[in-house]
Symmetry: C2
Subunit: 426 residues, 2 copies
Amino acid sequence: MNPKEPSRRRFLKNGAALAGLAVGASATKASAADAPEERVDLLHKVGERSHFVDAIRRGSANNPERRLPDEPRNFGISTPLQDSDGTVTPASLHYIVSHGYEPPDINPQEHRLIIHGMVERPLSLSMDDLRRLPSVSRFHFIECHGNSTTGGLGGAARISPDATVQDTHGFTSCSQWTGVPLPLLLKEAGVKKGATWIIAEGADEYKHSKSIPIDKALDDALVAYAQNGEPVRPEQGYPLRLVIPGWQGINNVKWLRRIDLVDEPYMGMMEISRYPRLGLDGKSRWFEFEMGPKSVITRPSGGQRLPVPGFYEITGLAWSGGGAIRRVEVSTDGGATWKDAELQGPVASKAHTRFTIPWNWSGEETTIQSRCTDDKGTVQPTIAEVAKHWGVDLDYFRKITLIVSDLNAIQPWKINRDGSVKNAIF
Amino acid sequence: MNPKEPSRRRFLKNGAALAGLAVGASATKASAADAPEERVDLLHKVGERSHFVDAIRRGSANNPERRLPDEPRNFGISTPLQDSDGTVTPASLHYIVSHGYEPPDINPQEHRLIIHGMVERPLSLSMDDLRRLPSVSRFHFIECHGNSTTGGLGGAARISPDATVQDTHGFTSCSQWTGVPLPLLLKEAGVKKGATWIIAEGADEYKHSKSIPIDKALDDALVAYAQNGEPVRPEQGYPLRLVIPGWQGINNVKWLRRIDLVDEPYMGMMEISRYPRLGLDGKSRWFEFEMGPKSVITRPSGGQRLPVPGFYEITGLAWSGGGAIRRVEVSTDGGATWKDAELQGPVASKAHTRFTIPWNWSGEETTIQSRCTDDKGTVQPTIAEVAKHWGVDLDYFRKITLIVSDLNAIQPWKINRDGSVKNAIF
């Protein structure tokens, strides 16, 4: 049944107004300063949100207040997925994970991208040079691999019954990225035989660098200068960001200034210390890349409230580093039965995909959840299946999901009789 | 030939840097006020553009300075298409045409959409009600039908040799709109036999209203609460906008509060006085709706400059009210020969479509232009063909394009030997 087909069914039993879905979030305002004339002029140049809109990014549980200028910049700021619609994340709300650096204030006229190392013809490209070259525009998600774990980002909020979907899954965002395909640039430079990795380096103070296998670089990597139709924003890497579709966020190097072709990976700080997880055998798991299939219901979700029984659309997002989302199923009875949700087309590969499904809430306590399948056929697992895969006891696992670097477990939301929606991951 | 296939060709003759495409636009900054602590906090809540980014909306030629608070709000503000990438227009840069009203400051908790008139069950829907109903997300352009004419918006700048693409075509923008399909709401209300039109009314001071045939309302109309993943912005109709895909901008009623089902059109101010054009026979042409197929090269375009001969990607946008863009051809020799451009997929119906084609500029004077074909098979005409269609002398026509309410003529850009790019519509 197609719920969009108006001749098939009606959702309102009569002309009376429905009581809407209440949202428990606080109404913090985020309007800009308003010196009258200047503000009007600015509004014309670049428009602003309504002051009634309260969707904001916020710090993670271990740094909820966000840093101030004199504090260390080691933080994560997540996207308010509970307020998301469609598949585009506004650039202003794209999540950020920062490891201690200020976004550098780069003058694009002075910025260069250097491609060197094991190449026939080293390149030094200005932003204007890049804009002359063939470009592509593609929708891709970028997700911190710590998203939806308790480690690092989510912290205790991840498993709190009061968690919102911003707490549990807010470190993923999706944009239309425009730029030059990296394969084209590598072809221009001429890859020498034996080059097996690239080292991508940013122009931030800490010179973040990341090792990426050359097969991926020659597949679908993108040197992006634009995001959602405008230049990439400073927090996202202005003027240039490397986009490595479907792989852990750390690979998407911001403020990209150098690509070095080499024959072995570089043991960067993020590769040897911060990012690898320890297995139960005590060994560090280096160089994990691809994000698994993941989905989450964004509405109704944690912290929201269903005021009365009746009709509600269930909607959420699904994505996979393995390709396009092929299927999303939703259960509204605690996992006993599953129904196919509708995917809002066109579905792009390695991009957020919006799903919807109609639902009548009886008023009884229940649990709702979604699971997705990508076009490799990989199905999103339950938390119990993840625990089993990694050989850990679920009881132990629920305390520390730290060993799992990409936790893509099914996210259940419990609906109580009073309509409140709670995190039911454990 | 697929220009994205790196194994086929190289664009750089050697490792030396290219000299980039220079842009003549002034570097007006649009950064927000910066009271340090408050600004840092805001930056975390909602991010900001780089202060090096100078793409701004601006007033039309007959009101270039934009109004100030005490001036009448009768103006148009256009999108900087010369700086556009991909197909999404950032909400902050979406064009505006205003007919004398301030955007109303609507509290979404108090806003209602009334559907009444020739219906079985009148409806009064809150924003929360609407969010419970089945939703869709679709990319659609909205275009003022005065876009690319000299009348009203473009003014003399439309035919000036110095026109930028913002001057010639800046009154079109494209967003991912999310909301409830209007057909579903009309089905809920129950359309009475004999209802042939809807009158959509906004909550602005002037109560802008627009008559729309019910067949269109029952086809693909959308009651949109979100734009590019966030609530519709105040200037675009917060909290609710009627989206009438592919039809003249004036139909996309902002601040939507009422839909009245009737059996004849309402003679609204915009329908009887401001918007209809007079034919040469002296008769007014009322109730024109669908926008024809249109395309324009955005880079290189008027006001930009090619610093040296050599390789340049030509890129631009194509769209049609008739459906999806099927084909875009580009000529780089004054219209003598045409080549197929590549369309950046996935191509959505009644949405901006990005096209690209590789080009080597010899350094000689030439003219570049694009023409598109939509999936109805309709081909974008030349300006001479438009003049012939309307039975007017081209010499007369070049002075006043006023009688043509939807001028979708091919836009030629002249490249001079010094690399400067000029408007060559006449």
